[in-house]
């Protein structure tokens, strides 16, 4: 296994000082931009004449279930937070996995939709499977997503079709195809199908009591398993090494004997499987019937932001998925405290913009360190002279 070896341009160099460590740490910078995002959000709330305490009370309630205004504790809100985070983490990994191979997967939304649609069909039509039909549904969704993503990777490898254009177009195809196919189901009307059989719905087991009947399902374990799998594959296998090498420099990887084209297809396939699973977890975890989707759920698109903030690493994507999930499930709680609903999106947006500025921030910090070093050197020389 060559997976443990580190590629030269990846990861931080040995830190010498705290500042160096900070500049070189994507994690620390991510935290900084998140804090900046919240600071700006707070200022905006004050600027529109509302009390920013509402924002933080809503976030507190999302994270702990404790409503500080009424003193009531209800674990359901924690469950709802994790429920919102699940598809975001998976779609973030969809974006992130492709990004690590140097591909820009804007198609997580489409892959999410085919996953959702496949899960709904299998849920309604699959024969019994030991009372755990939901497992089959999840597998079908992952397969459908993998096909939808892998198709793009193959087009890229075989015909050099830009994966950006292909994924965007496939998003539309997935959307309209899903609507068309789902409406063919007997007794489906323009927005829903008949109810799923009970065994197709993802079970809640002990989570149901633990989170006071939130919508949080066993899907959370699937998500956690995926995070571990993501890390294992990318960091600890030969395949992952090849994918990362392709992502860093595909020409060099090609010369080194890595099948770059095969990497494209594999990477997009795995990315699609993550997004497909997200679709199934929403479809069979949060709904008891199939939906004729009327618009994008946007988990796929938000996944782009999740991966960006999480820096496409397993742990980072998990954390940033939890962050975006928190912002989205805190939204109704904010509105309840008269904080405009747009604030949560403004904060998410700011975080994304600021993360994109990560490179810029790093330049400024490095430049200032250099100036300071030059000054102290000059001072020392002056003192010595």
């Amino acid at each position: 296994m060559t997976g443990t070896s580190r590629l030269p341009t990846e990861g931080p160099a040995m830190p010498r000082t705290f500042l160096d460590a900070f500049i070189n740490s994507n994690g620390a910078l991510s935290i900084l931009v998140v804090l900046l995002g919240f600071a700006c959000g707070t200022l905006i709330i004050m600027a529109v004449g509302r009390n920013p305490a509402g924002l933080y009370l809503a976030l507190l309630q999302t994270l702990t279930g404790f409503n500080a205004t009424t003193g009531v504790w209800n674990a359901r809100y924690v469950g709802e937070w994790l429920t919102a985070a699940m598809p975001l983490i998976l779609c973030g990994m969809s974006m992130g996995f492709a990004a690590r191979t140097g591909l820009f997967n804007i198609g997580a939304e489409g892959q999410y939709i085919v996953g959702l649609t496949a899960a709904q069909f299998v849920a309604l039509y699959a024969p019994p499977f030991f009372g755990a039909e939901w497992v089959v549904c999840l597998l079908a969704a992952a397969a459908a997503g993998a096909f939808w993503g892998g198709l793009v990777g193959w087009l890229r490898a075989r015909f050099s079709v830009s994966e950006v254009v292909a994924t965007i177009m496939l998003n539309y195809i997935a959307f309209f195809l899903s609507r068309y196919l789902t409406r063919l189901i007997p007794d489906a009307n323009t927005y829903r199908t008949p109810n799923f059989p009970g065994a197709a719905i993802i079970p809640r087991w002990f989570i149901d009591d633990l989170t006071n009947h939130s919508r949080l399902s066993a899907g959370i374990f699937v998500v956690l398993a995926c995070v571990i799998l993501y890390w294992l594959v990318l960091e600890r296998t030969k395949l992952g090494f090849e994918l990362r090498a392709t992502g860093l420099n595909r020409t060099a990887a090609g010369y080194a004997g890595i099948g770059v084209n095969r990497c494209f297809t594999t990477s997009m396939g795995i990315a699609g499987a993550f997004a497909g699973l997200a679709g199934a977890i929403v479809a069979l975890g949060s709904f008891s019937y199939g939906r004729v989707i009327g618009g994008y759920d946007n988990y796929g698109f938000n996944g782009i932001a999740v991966a960006l903030v999480g820096n496409s690493t397993a742990g980072g994507t998990l954390l940033s998925g939890l962050l975006f999930g928190m912002l989205s499930s805190a939204q109704p709680l904010m509105q309840s405290r008269q904080i405009p609903k747009e604030i949560a999106w403004i904060i998410s947006g700011l975080v994304v913009v600021l993360v994109s500025l990560r490179a810029g921030i790093r330049l400024v910090i490095a430049w200032r360190a250099k100036v300071a070093a030059a000054r102290s050197l000059a001072e020392r020389e002056a003192a010595g002279a």
Partner: protein, 358 residues
């Protein structure tokens, strides 16, 4: 320290609740389009504002007596309903049939909580009040008004368009009524229809409207929530260029949205669906203690639906004629069908419309 802080907050809350003890507290839950859709949700919100003596510009009791929470995605319907129920509002109002499944799930979990849903009559729970409208009658009236205007302007072989949101029984009532109204005046008029499959995509309606206006369509009626604003935008553009085209507003009087110069508006008339009446009546019932599980039908007779007369270009003579039709509907002399199947069976509408009864 912490305890005394919490106690202080609790006391303030008690004081606030007492200050408004006379009036019930209300939470409005909407879909992603929110109360700024200038149409359906806006009307529900206006009814609430009206009950509390507030206006759109002055929402002084918002956050104390009433407020609104918008759901960004459909999977937030259930949690938002549960949250509002936890927060113990006297009444929770939801708008639109897409909420029906979520409501019937949550209403059973909170039997003491009162709910009201607009546009739905199949949620039977004992703590849910349901309000529906006779949209087909109101749409019939704007259909008549539009056709009369085409006649008055001497348009040869006028064509009429209909743009719907997500197809379903409710939107079908709009389409069937409108088409019947037009054909009652101009039996040979050609009808075109299109469904955007979305309540919040004005760009789709705008593109379709441009296509149709270019191909000689005289007026377009949009029953598509925020999507319909695209029709009005396109009609405005073309009227500014001097083309004789109209948009027909929906739910609220959209005359002001269509103004392009002075008092000239591209919105000839609007089908008024007084959702504000629904929210107002339900709050009044809660206050008076007469709230019960019922299906309230707001029809022409109950003034639940009607047509807007604010555009000065809608001639007085036309208004008089439409008023007469209105009286005939109330008197039962004109029968407007609510489903496509019935209207088609009676031969009152063409057989190639995209309207769906399920």
């Amino acid at each position: 320290m912490k305890k005394s802080f919490l106690a202080a907050i609790a006391l303030t809350l008690v004081a606030l609740t007492q200050a408004f003890a006379a009036d019930p507290t209300v939470r409005l839950l909407t879909d992603a389009t929110g109360i700024d859709d200038k149409s359906f949700n806006a009307a529900a919100w206006r009814g609430i504002l009206d009950f509390y003596g507030d206006t759109w510009a002055k929402q002084s009791k918002r956050g104390k007596a009433y407020d609104v929470v918008t759901a960004q995605t459909q999977d937030m319907y259930v949690p938002n309903l549960k949250q509002a129920s936890d927060e113990k509002y006297d009444l929770i109002i939801v708008t639109g049939f897409t909420w029906a499944d979520a409501l019937s799930e949550v209403a059973k979990l909170y039997p003491e909580q009162k709910y009201m849903i607009v546009d739905v009559d199949w949620v039977g729970d004992p703590n849910v009040m349901q309000v529906t409208f006779s949209e087909h009658e109101g749409s019939f009236l704007v259909g008549v008004a539009t056709a009369l205007k085409a006649k008055a302007e001497g348009i040869k072989d006028p064509k009429f368009g209909f743009i719907g949101g997500i197809p379903g029984p409710v939107i079908t009532k709009f389409e069937v009524g409108y088409v019947m109204g037009i054909l009652s005046v101009l039996p040979k008029a050609k009808i075109v229809d299109y469904y955007a499959n979305d309540w919040g995509k004005p760009e789709l309606a705008k593109a379709q409207a441009k296509n149709w206006y270019d191909s000689g369509v005289y007026a377009i009626f949009s029953a598509a929530g925020g999507t319909g604003n695209g029709t009005i935008a396109q009609a405005k553009e073309y009227r500014t260029q001097g083309k004789k085209v109209w948009a027909i507003g929906v739910d609220s009087d959209q005359y002001a949205d269509g103004i392009y110069s002075g008092t000239k508006s591209a919105v000839l008339t609007s089908m008024l669906k007084r959702v504000e009446t629904a929210s107002k009546v339900s709050i009044q019932n809660v206050k008076a203690g007469t709230f019960k599980s019922e299906v309230l039908v707001l029809d022409t007779k109950a003034d639940g639906v009607g047509f807007a007369t604010s555009n000065p270009e809608l001639d007085k003579s036309i208004v008089t004629q439409v008023e007469q039709v209105r009286k005939n509907i109330i008197a039962g002399k004109v029968k407007v069908f609510a489903t496509y199947a019935e209207a088609k069976a009676a031969g009152k509408v063409p057989g190639d419309l995209q309207a769906s009864d399920k």
